[in-house]
């Protein structure tokens, strides 16, 4: 990848940072509660994908490296999912009692 393309990715990251700041100043709860967090996470996820694919060269790497990258997200998903199963069911009570 040549330098102009690297600069292009860098520009995307800078724009993402500015967007994160801007999104934090606007109350998005009118869409649904916690929408601000979701927007911030989406921007962060996009930025991270750019870093991984281009700065860390995953885009040009063999399939095994792709598998490793996907596996790390899968593991992150496990952590979030199993933690959330606690938070989302904590207030239900014992057998709906």
């Amino acid at each position: 990848m040549n330098i102009p393309r690297y600069l292009g990715v860098f520009a995307v990251l800078v724009v993402g940072t500015i967007l994160t700041y801007y999104a934090a100043t606007v109350d998005l709860d009118f869409i649904f509660p916690g929408a601000n967090t979701l927007v911030a996470l989406l921007i962060a996820f996009t930025k991270m994908t750019c870093v991984m694919l281009f700065f860390m060269h995953v885009y040009w790497s063999p399939r095994l490296i792709w598998l490793s990258a996907v596996a790390s997200f899968f593991w992150l998903a496990i952590m979030f999912a199993y933690t959330m199963q606690d938070y989302l069911t904590r207030d239900i009570g014992v057998f709906m009692q």
């Binding site: 952590m79 606690d86 938070y87 069911t89």
Partner: protein, 550 residues
């Protein structure tokens, strides 16, 4: 030091340079392993001294030797040193580092400089932690649970946390190095299903290391952010949740149990098969059970949190998955037992440790199921039953396997044989002392004695005296190898290249191995644990050894 027929000294990794610089700047995986061995032994000694202090305090019902606050710091220091600086790195960093490249027919690990960097990071993390412990220590327990580590902390939590944070990178780099090495450095003919099971176990462990360790680093970082920037993460007073800490901590720390015990299982697979002189039963099942343990190990962390306030539905899922993760461990136990059946068993020192592991890990594993059952655990949580359970797994499993592995590969690492007599005495003392120390703790826990208290009711003293007496026997058993293995370095008989007459690649190079591991790159044409004609073994010598045993 070995000599060839002309009488000149053969160059090996030990005599290839004697300066301090030649050791501190080495990229040779074997020298790095030896430096790990020395450091890890020192941490084990320090952790052992703290353990001895705990058992001395528990001799009497009153807290008379230590004040309660000091007692908290002592058991915390014991846990931190033993877990983060001994158990986790011991087998991978010492035996894995030394043997993994040799067992797959490689000259070195794929990333030798990264390997040296891992050692330096381990040293820096260790020194930092020891400094913090000496400054005043930590009283939170090795788990750093909030709010002990946040709101109510008045000890060196962040300094010790930083030491563990730094040390984590050593684990990650070692795991990464092993994975790359197994993928890219295998000798011609060394297919995946010809890999020794020790290598499979190291590979599975490495997966857990690189997937899990970053999470503990992030958790410590979040702890620091909350303490220094007052961002509400774990403290409910500022919008956090203390149970979130437990989720994140155990997401790493339960798989860390498998970082500790999986390599031990790899050692045991080698010992059981080789000292039964029989191809291991169900090679593929054992190999894949290591991977299954690595994967399922990530799905069960909530069983540490049944009484924490975690949702009962989450508890149900974690309880079920805890039963599931017992299956691959059971596969290994059954296959080892089947390997022993009609084997030509030698009761050499490493095998005594191997058999000891099977008995102790069986008890440790089965009592784990007690603690995975949601009803029973309400009674047993935070009692000595838990202490006994995890010591049966960690010490009875991992430490015994580590000692077995050290004795097994000592002749290869040093070129010298140790005293079999003292080795056997030591192995038996460890087994007896261990059971005397920890079995009474199952009963104490069942009777309701809570862990982490310096005092206890008088009616529990007899069992505590048994436990402390056992600890002294165990201590003697653990110190003995230091003496006779050290003695063997100077006075031991030359071991020869293949003292146990085994087919593995590590036994087909000289003892100690040359810097490049093999004088000629090996080509593997035999299956793992092949004791027949195809293995290229000196069968006559093997038969003579069998006859001598009879």
């Amino acid at each position: 030091m070995t000599a060839d027929y002309s009488g000149t000294q053969k160059l090996n990794y030990l005599n290839n340079g004697f300066t301090l610089k030649s050791w501190l700047l080495t990229k040779d995986h074997k020298r790095i392993a030896i430096m790990y061995l020395i450091t890890i032994s020192l941490f084990f000694l320090a952790g052992g001294i703290f353990a001895a202090t705990i058992r001395l305090e528990m001799l009497t019902p009153a807290s008379d030797l230590l004040q309660t606050g000091t007692y908290n710091k002592v058991f915390t220091a014991h846990g931190i040193l033993m877990i983060f600086f001994f158990l986790i790195p011991s087998i991978p960093a010492v035996l894995g580092n030394f043997l993994l490249p040799i067992m797959i027919g490689a000259k070195d690990l794929a990333l030798p400089r990264i390997n040296l960097l891992s050692l330096y990071i381990y040293w820096i993390g260790g020194l930092f932690t020891v400094w913090a412990l000496l400054q005043g220590g930590v009283d939170t327990g090795w788990t750093f649970y909030t709010p002990y580590s946040t709101t109510f902390s008045n000890t060196y939590v962040m300094a010790v946390g930083l030491g563990i944070f730094i040390n984590g990178f050593s684990s990650i780099l070692t795991g990464l190095n092993f994975i790359v090495t197994v993928h890219t450095m295998r000798a011609p003919g060394m297919t995946w299903f010809r890999l020794p099971l020790f290598v499979w176990a190291q590979y599975a462990t490495s997966l857990v290391m690189i997937l899990g360790t970053p999470v503990i680093a992030i958790t410590v970082l979040l702890l620091a952010i909350e303490r220094f920037a007052q961002v509400g993460i774990f403290d409910p007073a500022i919008g956090g949740d203390p149970i979130l800490f437990q989720h994140m901590f155990w997401f790493y720390s339960h798989p860390a149990v498998y970082i500790m015990v999986l390599p031990g299982m790899g050692v045991i697979s080698e010992l059981i098969s080789n000292f039964s002189r029989k191809k291991i039963f169900g090679y593929e099942f054992i190999a894949f059970s290591s991977i299954a343990i690595a994967v399922f190990g990530f799905l069960v962390w909530g069983h540490h949190m049944f009484v924490s306030g975690q949702s009962i539905y989450a508890g149900l899922v974690f309880s079920f998955l805890t039963m599931v993760v017992a299956v691959p461990s059971a596969i290994k136990m059954f296959n080892w037992t089947a390997t022993l059946y009609k084997g030509s068993i030698s009761f050499d020192t490493p095998m005594l440790y191997g058999l000891g592991f099977m008995g102790l890990f069986l008890i440790g594993g089965l009592t784990g199921l007690f603690l995975g059952a949601m009803g029973l655990v309400v009674h047993l949580t935070d009692t000595y039953f838990v202490v006994a359970h995890f010591h049966y797994v960690m010490v009875g499993g991992q430490v015994v396997a580590y000692l077995g592995g050290i004795h097994y590969w000592w002749p290869k690492m040093t070129g010298k044989m140790y005293s079999e007599f003292w080795g056997k005495i030591s192995a038996m003392l460890v087994f007896i002392g261990f059971n005397l120390t920890f079995f009474p703790q199952f009963i104490l826990g069942y009777l309701g004695m809570p862990r982490r208290y310096a005092s206890y009711p008088e009616e529990m003293q007899v069992l505590n005296i048994f436990s402390s007496a056992g600890a002294s026997v165990l201590g003697v058993g653990m110190i003995m190898p230091l003496i006779y293995l050290g003695h063997s370095l100077i006075y031991g008989k030359p071991a020869g290249d293949n003292p146990w007459l085994l087919p593995g690649l590590e036994w087909r190079t000289s003892s100690p191995p040359p810097t490049e591991n093999f004088e000629v790159m090996p080509v593997v044409t035999w299956e793992a644990y092949e004791f027949g004609e195809d293995s290229g073994l000196d069968l006559e010598a093997a038969r003579a050894r069998e006859a001598a045993k009879v």
